[in-house]
């Protein structure tokens, strides 16, 4: 969707005219954009006080976003069309060497498939974020995201500025904006496009649960969140089909012993204990 105005309608021959021309472009809106302040988001989740929002954004198909959020923040991803694919990496914002560890995230809970109640674990025995709500149930922690090589082979192009961007290419840029390099990108997970392991080990495509599903996370530590919204690498469609991704976040509190999810499994309880121990010692 181009909002651009034809060349002959721009008067930009002097600095003052160029300034007027630029300023005249403000105040417009498009289908995919951050909304500031977040309370002005037209897509604020029902039941959430807009004044509590700290993040309101629609990520374009093939786009990416990133933000640092406080401990306790609740983060919600909405897939309004059934074609979003939120590829996610999270870090402890205070020490980004502590980051999502997909292997521990699958192994420690004895469960390969992500869903409500599942922790996103770091390699340091702590919970970076908890999945606290999930109406999709179609997620993937096996395949990571597309590389340039993958998309060039599949679509003939992988450029971030092109029509079939690779997830890794976008995550490299999101990470770089926080001073992180390629070595700081661990395997990622994807929400809204599912993969299931068949009896012979084959990774079977499950895809989307349909339009209007969402996933909610609680940040258990100060969190750097990187998200790319790109076609899942195993998406069998010949075309590169991705829908917009809504992201909202609002103030909340981290998981504590009073929450039912705290003690649902011994591994999880110890992971929360480790997380709270770290936060207490740091004065968070």
């Amino acid at each position: 969707m181009a909002l651009s105005v034809p060349r002959d309608q721009h008067t930009t021959d002097t600095v003052l005219n160029a300034r007027s021309d630029a300023r005249a472009q403000g105040g417009q809106s498009t289908e995919w954009m951050p909304h500031l302040p977040a309370s002005s988001s037209p897509f604020a989740p029902a039941g959430i006080d807009p004044a509590a929002l700290v993040w309101g954004e629609v990520v374009a198909p093939g786009g990416y976003t990133h933000k640092v959020v406080a401990r306790g923040t609740r983060i919600r991803f909405d897939d309004p069309t059934g074609n979003a694919c939120a590829t996610l990496v999270v870090y402890n914002a205070l020490e980004p060497v502590e980051r999502l560890n997909v292997a521990d995230t699958q192994k420690i809970p004895w469960q390969a498939y992500l869903g409500a109640g599942h922790p996103l674990l770091s390699g340091d025995g702590r919970v970076l974020a908890s999945i606290v709500a999930d109406t999709s149930g179609r997620h993937d922690a096996f395949c990571g995201t597309s590389t340039d090589m993958w998309n060039e082979r599949k679509y003939g192009d992988s450029r971030s500025e092109g029509p079939t961007p690779s997830g890794r290419g976008l995550l490299v840029k999101a990470a770089a904006k926080h001073g992180l390099g390629r070595r700081d990108l661990p395997p990622s997970i994807s929400f809204f496009q599912g993969v299931r392991v068949e009896s012979d080990g084959k990774l079977g495509w499950q895809g989307s649960a349909g339009a209007r599903t969402y996933v909610e996370l609680v940040a258990e530590l100060p969190l750097l969140v990187l998200v790319a919204n790109v076609a899942h690498p195993l998406d069998p469609r010949t075309d590169y089909v991705v829908g917009p991704l809504h992201v909202h976040a609002w103030r909340g509190r981290p998981t504590g012993p009073a929450d039912a999810r705290f003690g649902t499994a011994p591994e999880l309880e110890r992971a929360y204990l480790n997380t709270i121990d770290y936060a207490d010692a740091r004065g968070l």
């Binding site: 292997a103 192994k107 420690i108 004895w110 498939y113 702590r126 993958w150 392991v197 012979d200």
Partner: protein, 230 residues
């Protein structure tokens, strides 16, 4: 030499009387490297493009946790998800191409004497052990610690640790998504052979885990043999 007594609670080492089979390279060729990795210890080596690394499970069902890096550019390293995506399969077996985070082949499994190997279960570590077993095992040594120690010899650190491969470890994924480390499929002297598709730095942790069946509760040695195939 006098036996030094120590109060340090060191992890398990293989039990007296364990059957050991040191075997030999799975493919013929000129041996350019031959190392015996003691129980619980890390190892690293560079395997040049075209050379073949044989890993021998000397005592049987001993997990060899493994990470690989492009020796010329360590930012390019083993990627479990890219390996699984390209194979479209959750397990590592004969013919599996071990890919980098850029999708390029690092190594290929060209010989294999057990059903399958794992690349989902990751590595044990002091901290993750506390989740799995309780804080009373915090003092145990782990693969993450081995990786950090060996990585540091090559200028690498915690930022360079990613989901790894586990030779000789068995992690089935069941229909409902249940997954876990279960009894191994290997035996003393069983081998896997991987051919380097570029010059590859290989880090291995001979897993010191004593709390699950990944080492059959009896950590044993591994043997690493690199040959220039004839």
């Amino acid at each position: 030499m006098t036996m030094i007594r120590s109060t340090v609670p060191v992890g398990a080492s293989f039990a007296d009387g364990s059957e050991l089979d040191w075997a030999q390279s799975l493919v013929p060729g000129l041996v350019v490297l031959d190392a015996r990795v003691p129980p619980n210890a890390p190892w690293s080596g560079v395997v040049a493009a075209g050379q073949v690394l044989t890993i021998v499970d000397v005592g049987g069902n001993q997990s060899g946790d493994c990470l690989m890096y492009n020796a010329a550019d360590h930012d390019e390293r083993y990627s479990a998800p890219d390996t699984l995506t390209w194979e479209q399969n959750a397990y590592v077996s004969t013919g599996t191409v071990l890919r980098s985070n850029e999708g390029r082949p690092l190594m290929t499994v060209i010989g294999n004497e057990i059903d399958r190997h794992d690349t989902i279960g990751g590595a044990c570590g002091k901290e993750s052990n506390t989740l799995r077993y309780g804080h009373h095992v915090m003092y145990h040594h782990g693969c993450r610690e081995n990786f950090l120690a060996e990585a540091s010899r090559h200028g690498l650190g915690v930022r360079d640790l990613v989901s790894n491969l586990n030779w000789f470890m068995n992690v089935p994924v069941e229909a409902d998504g249940a997954l876990g480390i279960v009894d191994g499929l290997s035996a003393p002297g069983r081998r896997v052979a991987v051919r380097a598709e570029m010059d590859v730095l290989v880090l291995v942790s001979n897993c010191p885990q004593m709390n699950n069946p990944c080492n059959d509760f009896n950590p044993t040695p591994l043997r690493m043999i690199v040959v220039e195939p004839s």
